[in-house]
């Protein structure tokens, strides 16, 4: 009834906010950032187009080491999150019924309504030299002096895993719930054991959830600033920190824009690759 070829006035009015939003706040800023990243400062207020800012990234080991380190630690975080979250999601989706299931699921979600800052602060209270864990270990006789557990790579991973957990649990529970119990029973009837049923039936079925969970967790870890800074301290060497430093501390926006673009490319590649791998589209995964 409303499907006419020429858009009506109403449609054009409805499109206006969308277009303003997408063009003024998303597309133009990113185009502008790209243009800035390919302009080289040759003298004060004199610029030339070129890729020197990107060249600088590859020439300076600190930069690409930080970049690679951030990517590798984000991959590691993603794997750890998946390994911890899968049994929990399976338990909620398949082992529980009714009210208990709903309660545990909501309990999984609740911590993530609280600001990331508060959650990270909690870990700082637990892990610092005068913190709860250190005091507990001394009390239990497992340590004879205070232990500083902040400012290590492991702490950063602990914080990132914690902060990303929700984004893994929700897609996993959703896909696992859609698996009919009778398939699992059939697997056992046909002589499978727990391990083969898991490998041949459950995991293939949960693959879309696993992939979308991993994509989101990876992306969020890569772009995280708060957790690496607070838990990793000055030596955390997270790439977002480099971007922040170029923009705010050194006021070298051209270099910062190039860094930002590199991070955006890596993040987009992972999202795109993950979607291709699982034969999904962005619309299906998000909508």
């Amino acid at each position: 009834m409303r499907n006419m070829n020429a858009p009506k006035l109403g449609v054009i009015l409805l499109m206006a906010p969308l277009m303003i939003w997408l063009f003024a706040l998303i597309i133009l800023p990113h185009v502008d950032m790209f243009l800035l990243s390919i302009s080289e400062k040759i003298a004060p207020r004199v610029y030339e187009t070129g890729f020197a800012n990107y060249g600088e990234f590859f020439a300076e080991p600190l930069y690409w080491n930080t970049f690679a380190r951030t990517a590798i630690m984000s991959i590691f975080t993603t794997i750890v999150t998946l390994v911890i979250a899968f049994p929990v999601s399976y338990y909620i989706a398949k082992m529980l019924r009714g009210r208990m299931k709903a309660i545990l699921f909501v309990l999984c979600l609740l911590p993530f309504w609280v600001s990331e800052l508060v959650r990270t602060f909690g870990w700082m209270i637990l892990l610092r030299e005068t913190g709860i864990v250190s005091t507990f270990l001394q009390w239990a006789g497992l340590a004879d002096q205070p232990i500083e557990m902040l400012y290590t790579d492991a702490t950063i991973v602990v914080g990132l895993v914690y902060t990303s957990m929700l984004f893994m649990v929700v897609p996993l529970v959703t896909t696992l719930e859609s698996l009919d119990d009778s398939y699992i029973e059939a697997g056992y009837d046909l002589g499978g054991n727990g391990f083969t049923v898991m490998r041949e039936i459950v995991i293939p079925h949960a693959m879309p959830g696993i992939v979308s969970g991993c994509i989101v967790v990876f992306m969020l870890s890569l772009g995280n600033y708060l957790t690496p800074i607070l838990l990793g301290g000055k030596e955390s060497l997270w790439f977002t920190e480099q971007i922040y430093a170029q923009f705010i501390t050194r006021f070298n926006w051209e270099q910062g824009a190039a860094f930002g673009f590199l991070l955006l490319i890596l993040s987009s590649l992972i999202v795109w690759g993950g979607l291709k791998l699982s034969r999904q589209t962005l619309s299906e995964t998000m909508g």
Binding site: R2, V11, L14, M15, P17, W21, L22, L25, I26, I27, P29, D32, M33, L36, I84, P87, Y91, L104, L107, L109, L110, P111, W113, V114, E116, L117, V118, F121, G122, W123, M124, I125, L126, R128, T130, I132, Y162, M165, I184, E185, G194, M198, L220, L222, G223, Y225, L226, L230, Y244, F247, W253, G260, L263, L264, S267, V271, L282, S283, M286, G287
Partner: protein, 286 residues
């Protein structure tokens, strides 16, 4: 491994223990933050020096309670202001988008739908710097051509609101679209048959139906804005929202005052979260 398949007792025990440990892990950081808000000490750590409400209500240094701490109170005020505008704008644009994508066809619809989703997969810090760069180009351009200084587009609250709005709108669009998709279009057609104008039909039939989703999207938008850090960090000017104030304090070293603010945030978030879950449940039943 489902209840209808017999499992050894040991396996079940280990599995249940793992789940318990997981929930302890999930809740313990929040629990310690809450508990140490009441520690009568200068540091949020052991030893426990007794129970106090000073970190909330005391009006004297050194244990200045948060309700008397002007920087924290201003931070809360700034955050509320930002979150209010982000919520209003993103729910409005989200509703327009939902009607646009669910009810209309137009050229390149799929392309724009994917474009609409993109802000969710762009890291927050990148959204922040791209907007910082673009607003700077824009303001300088206007200044050079028209000789007008657009001071409000320099880093500050307007940019913070725009930065947060740019990705929260995607979320509100998705929430509102999901409910609009379930709406039975014949109800609206009945109103039209009974002589209502198109606008009246939408206002009296469709929008009331969408109300739970509008509130739900509003709550989510409000919380995401209030808690946002990455995008805000790059765009903030002299008025700092609460998350930025807290971050600065945290870097200097923390007092239980931070625990007190955190506890306040947790309580408010929990109320809003439960409210939104309640709204969604109501939505599911209809």
């Amino acid at each position: 491994m489902i209840p209808s398949i017999p499992q050894s007792r040991a396996f079940k025990g280990v599995y249940a223990a793992y789940i318990s440990v997981f929930f302890v892990y999930l809740l313990i950081p929040l629990l310690v933050v809450a508990v140490f808000a009441f520690n009568d000490s200068m540091f949020p750590s052991l030893p426990w020096k007794g129970f106090t409400f000073d970190w909330f209500f005391s009006s004297t240094e050194p244990k200045l309670g948060i309700f008397h701490d002007s920087t924290i109170m201003e931070g809360i005020g700034v955050s509320l202001f930002v979150a209010f505008w982000v919520t209003v704008l993103s729910v409005f644009v989200g509703t327009c988008n939902a009607f646009l994508f669910e009810r209309n066809n137009f050229p390149f619809k799929n392309f724009f739908y994917v474009l609409m989703l993109l802000p969710l997969v762009i890291p927050g810090i990148i959204l922040g710097i791209s907007m910082l760069v673009f607003s700077n180009t824009f303001v300088n351009g206007v200044e050079n051509v028209f000789n007008v200084e657009m001071e409000f587009l320099r880093p500050g609250l307007v940019l913070v609101i725009m930065g947060q709005f740019s990705f929260i709108t995607t979320i509100s669009t998705l929430v509102i679209s999901a409910r609009l998709r379930k709406f039975d279009i014949s109800l609206e057609e009945a109103a039209l048959n009974l002589g209502a104008s198109h606008l009246t039909a939408v206002r009296t039939i469709t929008l009331p139906y969408l109300k739970p989703a509008l509130f739900g999207a509003g709550i989510v938008a409000f919380l995401m804005s209030f808690e946002n850090f990455n995008t805000t960090l790059m765009l903030v000017g002299s008025d700092a929202p609460l998350t930025i104030t807290m971050f600065d304090r945290l870097k200097e070293g923390s007092t239980p005052a931070l625990n007190a603010v955190s506890l306040l945030l947790m309580v408010v978030s929990a109320i809003l979260a439960i409210g939104s879950i309640f709204l969604q449940r109501e939505k599911g039943q209809k």
